[in-house]
Subunit: 205 residues, 2 copies
DNA sequence: AAAAACATTGGTCTGAAGGACAATACAGGT
DNA sequence: ACCTGTATTGTCCTTCAGACCAATGTTTTT
């Protein structure tokens, strides 16, 4: 896993260099050189007056590197900026002058699929979200309203990943009947197969 | 770093045992035996009807072990419960039947100070908290981090509903190779078939 | 009552999916 | 140099999915 620091300071910051001596340091994002598949960690050094640059750079990275992990290190961290950055898909946000040890920890965390943020930010996220979490009554997909009752039952089970045989057993009908209902469901919903059906019913699209 | 599983099932779950063969498994929280300084990871197995138990246990752990990390593994994960658990200080929340590798990833993440949660939950946290209108930065599934680059590419296309033939064409490899990568992906993620893979990569857990 | 929609089941057939055996080439680390 | 992991491709085989050909009984609507 490769590290690329993007900072206006030539030579980066002391902590960065110490943490990742072999990392690349650049002042601007270079065009992709075909390493589209490798996972790269981008460390963006954020100045207070470069909101626009941050947005632009993050989007560029996401376009060019599908597997990239993006970290923002801010000179003056604040929660609003952190929220904004994470809404763009950044997986870690911290102080630019974090010690090398912390930077290494961050890398370990994000390279294993985790998210890194300060305890205060996390707390705030939770607080705000918890209060609004109540009204997420599970909305049944609108697609299901297009199906008959029996088709609904079969489609829901299929969308969970059950096989025709399993569906037949739990609904106490023949596998042949399951197929009939599924075929009808595909027809009505315009799904190509059970996988598309599952995607339709699980995503609210 | 010590692991303690607390589950009503004697012997825990298969995935847990595989991930941490040397962990302690208990059905209730035992009183503290002076290990106040060591960091312990508590894995709480959550049944749908044990909200009260969860709250009580978390608070007990936090009182007795100042350095503890608490993970909740839910039989039926849902965002409301996840938010609630994390508001109590839980640092990871996932499906109880997560494959062993995912569990190990979670441990790596949290033991380095990170937070582990499903992409949907994170997205929702950000969406709700952020004042800025969301662009949906495509959060790569945690599961994907278990796959090699090539497997990732294949798995992502398969999760969109493409056939092996279609995937082979756009990646410019043989259909046989697609199958090989997919089989490897199933193995790594513990998926039964491409539909389960799709559910894993598109949805929660 | 007649018509339409729904629920159920049958058989056949084609193609896709995925496992069970492989083999080869290449990169990186010990 | 050797071993491990990754990427690639091969053949054979079994199972499953879904389309297409039906039919019959029940329920609902017109």
């Amino acid at each position: 896993m490769q590290d690329i620091f993007i900072s206006p300071l030539s030579g980066g910051l002391a902590g960065w260099v110490e943490a990742f001596p072999h990392a690349k340091i650049a002042d601007i994002l270079k065009p992709n050189k075909s390493h589209a598949s490798e996972t790269i960690v981008f460390w963006l050094h954020m100045n207070a007056d470069r909101q626009e640059w941050l947005t632009k750079t993050i989007k560029q990275i996401q376009q060019q590197y599908t597997q990239a992990k993006i970290v923002v290190l801010a000179n003056s961290p604040n929660q609003a900026e952190a929220l904004y950055a994470m809404s763009l898909g950044v997986v870690a946000y911290s102080h630019a002058y974090s010690p090398a040890q912390v930077l290494r920890e961050m890398k370990t965390v994000i390279s294993h699929g985790g998210v890194w943020m300060g305890p205060d930010l996390l707390k705030r996220l939770i607080e705000v979200s918890s209060t609004l979490a109540g009204n997420q009554a599970e909305q049944v997909s609108q697609h299901l309203s297009l199906l008959t009752n029996r088709e609904k039952q079969v489609a829901i089970e299929a969308a969970k990943g059950l096989s025709n045989k399993e569906i037949a057993r739990i609904l106490d009908i023949t596998e042949r009947t399951v197929k009939a209902h599924l075929s009808a469901s595909f027809e009505r919903l315009g799904a190509k197969d059970r996988l598309h059906l599952a995607l339709m019913l699980n995503n609210k699209s």
